[in-house]
């Protein structure tokens, strides 16, 4: 393993790990806010109990999210110092603003988690509002940096280095609005499905079923509002990618040859040697319609770009399909639940539905992770699209392989420790209701 591969692998592992916790850190506050708000509004204390029961596991999740985020901010310098020297002046503003939002999030999180004995109920609820806002705003800000890597703007290249920097223009780059919205909404969908799966299991076991059903409804309400918006923002993202990141679109769709009336390729395995996609389903003209709103439009394929400047479709197309597929897995669960809820006028508890929801539970995170992989693998071999290659930005220090191994061990320890704690807790208390009294 060479330095570049080790650095990429470490950055990838760090992100895959951090994204899980960061996602929960965006989604959970919204659910806490809604539950606490409902408790105050309806006077139904069970909402408050549902929210407070999340405090301990969420505390661990947030803590790991914060420390793994610290790892990432250090890795920017430890692994990619030349990327940072190139881009710091353009993406720094996004990170600085995110820093303030994250700071605010950490503060109100502590107040909500630890403040039960020191703050009134109304104050606790009020703390969840800046918490929810700061969490989503920090995501929206930080995604601007990723957007800039995809659609760099706000500078001129003079003698091989960026100058005439316009930080606000760089901040508001073309990819930012759709990436920020799509990504933040995805965090809500992922969290609400993860939580829904947990409560579906509770209802299935018959443990504290009354409260579990309420929580299930709440989380699937959030999903019902946010999931359709994923479709809208996803379409917007595709339009923008078709306009500004044509090579990425070609790799996403495994579209090798530039052609008019391009079909949409679903599934299959792209083979760059032959330029064909084996075992795929093709829907005629649909790619042209999706990308350019015209069934006969020409869509550029990977062959339209100089060799060595395009991403590998084998790393992009399957993850794109996985992302879209995951969405439909969740959509079925959502439709099923709300159909029965509407028909029966009460929270449905058919074992088949509950089992399906448990099955669908991780697909929000799967979709989010694979969407992120699409956007990252889809930009290769560039770290700053069209300007700086990933291979040019890696640290000149040797020994990245040993750093990689060190951090893989760190992540394994953290994951093992957390699973052990959460599972033991489950085993001991059944995770629910009245049996959790202590001496």
């Amino acid at each position: 393993m060479d330095n570049l591969l080790a650095a990429r692998a470490l950055m990838g592992v760090s992100f895959v790990f951090h994204i899980i916790y960061a996602t929960m850190g965006i989604g959970l506050p919204l659910l806490l806010m809604l539950a606490e708000g409902l408790a105050l509004k309806t006077g139904d204390e069970s909402w408050h109990r549902i929210a407070r029961r999340w405090v301990l596991p969420a505390g661990v999740v947030f803590a790991i999210g914060a420390v793994s985020g610290t790892i990432l901010s250090f890795e920017l310098g430890l692994l990619w110092p030349r990327f940072m020297a190139f881009s710091g002046a353009m993406i720094g503003l996004a990170f600085s603003m995110e820093g303030f939002a994250f700071f605010t999030e950490a503060i109100f999180l502590s107040l909500y988690f630890y403040g039960e004995r020191r703050l009134s109920r109304r104050a606790l609820f009020l703390c969840t509002i800046p918490l929810t806002l700061a969490a989503s705003i920090s995501a929206i800000f930080v995604i601007s940096a990723n957007g800039w890597m995809n659609t760099p703007s706000g500078f001129q290249m003079v003698n091989g280095s960026p100058s005439d920097v316009l930080p606000l223009r760089a901040f508001a780059n073309e990819a930012w609005p759709h990436e920020a919205l799509h990504g933040t909404l995805a965090a809500y969908v992922a969290t609400s499905f993860a939580i829904a799966g947990y409560y579906a299991a509770m209802v299935l076991k018959g443990r504290g079923a009354v409260e579990a059903k309420k929580a299930l409804s709440l989380s699937l309400s959030v999903a019902a509002v946010t999931a359709p918006l994923m479709l809208v923002t996803g379409d917007w993202a595709a339009d923008s990618v078709a306009k500004f990141q044509k090579a990425k679109l070609a790799a996403m769709e495994a579209h090798f040859k530039t052609s008019a009336a391009a079909p949409l390729v679903i599934g299959g395995w792209p083979d760059p040697d032959t330029g064909r996609v084996r075992y795929a389903v093709r829907i005629p003209k649909l790619l042209s319609i999706l990308a350019h709103d015209d069934p006969n439009a020409v869509v550029q394929g990977l062959d339209a770009f100089p060799q060595g400047t395009t991403p590998d479709p084998r790393l992009v197309h399957p993850f794109f399909d996985l992302m879209v597929g995951s969405f439909f897995v969740m959509g079925i669960g959502l439709g099923w639940f709300w159909w029965l809820r509407w028909r029966q006028k009460e929270v449905p508890d058919q074992p088949r539905l509950l089992k399906y929801l448990m099955f669908a539970s991780p697909f929000g995170i799967i979709a989010l992770e694979s969407g992120w992989l699409v956007t990252e693998f889809g930009r290769q071999p560039w770290v700053v699209q069209g300007y700086l290659r990933t291979s040019q930005s890696v640290t000149p220090n040797g020994g990245v392989v040993s750093v990689f191994i060190t951090f893989v061990v760190v992540y394994l320890c953290l994951t093992a420790g957390m699973l052990k704690l959460l599972l033991r807790h489950q085993g001991r208390h059944g995770g629910e209701g009245k049996e959790v009294e202590h001496a």
């Binding site: 029961r53 793994s68 430890l78 603003m97 502590s110 060190t406 953290l414 420790g417």
Partner: protein, 340 residues
Amino acid sequence: MPDPVSLAALVAALALVLYALFGGADFGGGIWTALAFGPRAREQREALFNAIGPVWETNHVWLIFVVVTLFTAFPAGFAALFIALMTPLVVALVGINFRGAAYAFRHYGRASGREVPFSARVFEIASVLTPFALGMAVSATAAGSITIENDVVSTGTGIWFNPFTVMGGVIGLCICAYLAPVYMTVRVKGALQEDFRNASIAAGVALGVVTAVMIPLALQTAPEFSHRLLGSWPMLCVILAVLAGVTTQLLLLLRRFRLAQVMTGVTVVLTLAGFAAALHPDLIIQELPLRAAAAPRSTLIAYLTVLPVGAAVLVPSLWFLYWTFRGEPAPELPPAGKEP
């Protein structure tokens, strides 16, 4: 308008000082958990543990703030520093991770009714390791063993076994060990308060001794730094830091804890200010001036404009946090699932 490079450098230094004051006390809590002594060792640990709980995450955001300020305002400097300081930064990072996770696990374990001794050990070890590594990293910028030629950053051989950087690590440790018990004297009463008072006095002596030893050591191993340190402004900071340190010890002896708490902070601020003043106008001594490391003017101005807006949200929120969790540290979380 004053020069944006200097202003941005001031912000970076200020962020580092705030991290030292808040994050440092946090690490100090871990150090004194390991060093808990006497018949009330258990109570000392409990009090430290409960005091850290609600604020540790916030305390560590200052570090992210330092990193973000560096790469926004001094991208070339950030790149050079992170190439040169890879070793101690990786150690610190591993420490920060294990410390945060161990703390959270321990908290969670305790709230669900189990002691988690392994997590407690990890927490203590990481609390010692991290400030030591960070102290080494910070002092290495002044040691004079990092060189930059034709954009290639290299560190002299043996930079991490150099007495100057090792001593820098020890000073980092002592600063943390000094802050935590002084803060604690204000928050507890009775015999426990006396324990923390004794710990504070001991740590104060230790910090005084190591910083005093550092000066002859610097004269030998980091001549440029010591030359600048014994110049005009930095020297003033040094003298004032010594005075503030002595005053703190006297206040502790007289049991004027609130004033002592303030003076401890002042001592640490002046110590770090002396260091920063001696480093000025460089980011890496003699090799990389702040001006050469800085981002373009437009970025600096955008950053400095965002700052007061962010501060307007942050400062009242921080105040509310520390105000809410003032006074006697208590286990703030009820056991898992129990109704309040």
